[in-house]
Amino acid sequence: MGEIGTLIRHFALLSLLAFGGGNTVLPEMHRQAVEVSGWLTEQQFADLFAIAQAAPGPNILIVTLIGWQVAGLAGALAATAAICTPACTLTYIAANLWHRFRDRPWRRILQRGLAPVTVGIVAAGAWVVAETVDRSLVALALTLATAAVSLWTRLNPLWVLVAGGVLGAAGWV
C-alpha cells in the first residue's frame, strides 16, 4: 500500500509538470523509478520504454507498465489514474476558458514563452533515453536510423523497431 501511495503521489505531481507531453517527464520518471525509489533497474526502464513506444496508444502509458512492475494490477491502474487525473481536470476547465480568451495578446505570450522550455526538456528526455539504451554501436545506429526515418521519409518508423527486434534476437545489439 505504501508503494502505491508513492506511485500516486509521484505520478500525480508529474502530471502537472508534463508540459509539452509525456516525453517531457521521462528524465524525471527515470530519476524517480531508477535512482530514487529503485523500483526498476536501468535495463528494465529501457525495456518498459521500448514496450510503451512500440505498443499502440499514448506513450505516456509507460507509467502503466512501471505501476505493474511495482504493485501488479492495482499499481498499474493507480499509476495510470494518477498521471491522467490532475492534467485532465485542468484541461477540462481550461478548454472552456481557452475559447473565450483566444484573441488576447497574453495568450500568445504564454505560448511563446513556453515553447523553448518544452523543446529543451524534450531534448533532455531524448538524451536520457538514448544514453540508457545505446550500449553498443549497433544500438546507436538503430537510434539514428529511426530518427532519420521519421525525420526524412514517409516510412512508418515501426519498421525500424521491428528491425531492431530482429537484430536484437540475433544477438547483435
Binding site: 510503451a52 506513450n59 512492475q69 491502474l77 491522467c84 481557452w98 483566444r102 528526455g125 529511426t146 523497431l161
Partner: protein
Amino acid sequence: MSHPPEAAALSRPVPSRAQLFLAFLGIAMSGFGGVLPWARRMLVERRGWLSGAEFTDVLGLCQFLPGPNIVNVSIAVGSRFHGLGGALAALSGLLGGPVALMCVAGALYARFGGHGAVRQIFAGVAAAAAGLIVAMAVKMAVPLVRERPLEAVPIALAGFVLVGLLRWPLVWVLPPLLAAGMAVAWWRRG
C-alpha cells in the same frame, strides 16, 4: 488564430458520445510510436468533426497545458461536443484499449522479461525506439531555432543541460525556466 464562420461550424456533423468513444479508441489503437498524427487524420480528415484550424487551436491549448497532449485533446474535443460526459467518453475510448494491452504486456514482461532472448530483443527495439524521441526533439527545435534563435536557444539549451546532462529534478528546473521564458516573450512581444 482564425475561426470559420458559424454557418460552417453548424454544417459539420456533431458526434454522439458513443461515436466519440469509438473514434478515440480507433485513434489510440492505430497510434504506433505516437498518436497525434492519427488524431488529426480521424477528427479532421475522416470524420470532419473539426476544421483544420480548430484542430490546430485545440492542439495549441493542449500543448500549453500540462499532461500528455493526446489525453488533453480527447478531453477538449469531448467536452466541446458533450460537456463532461463527452470528455469522459473520449478519454475512456483513448485509454481503455491501450491500458488493457499494457496490463497484459506488463504481466508478460514481469514473468518472462528476465529471459536472455527476450532481453536481447528488447535491447534492439529500445535502441530503435529512442530514435523516435530524438526525431521529435529535432522536429520541435527546428522551427524555433529558425524563427527566433536568440530568444529561444539559450532557454532550450539551459533546459537540456540542467535536466538531460546534470539530471536536476524537473520541479527545480521548470519554474525558473518557465519564468525566464515568459519574461523574454513579454520583453520581445511584437
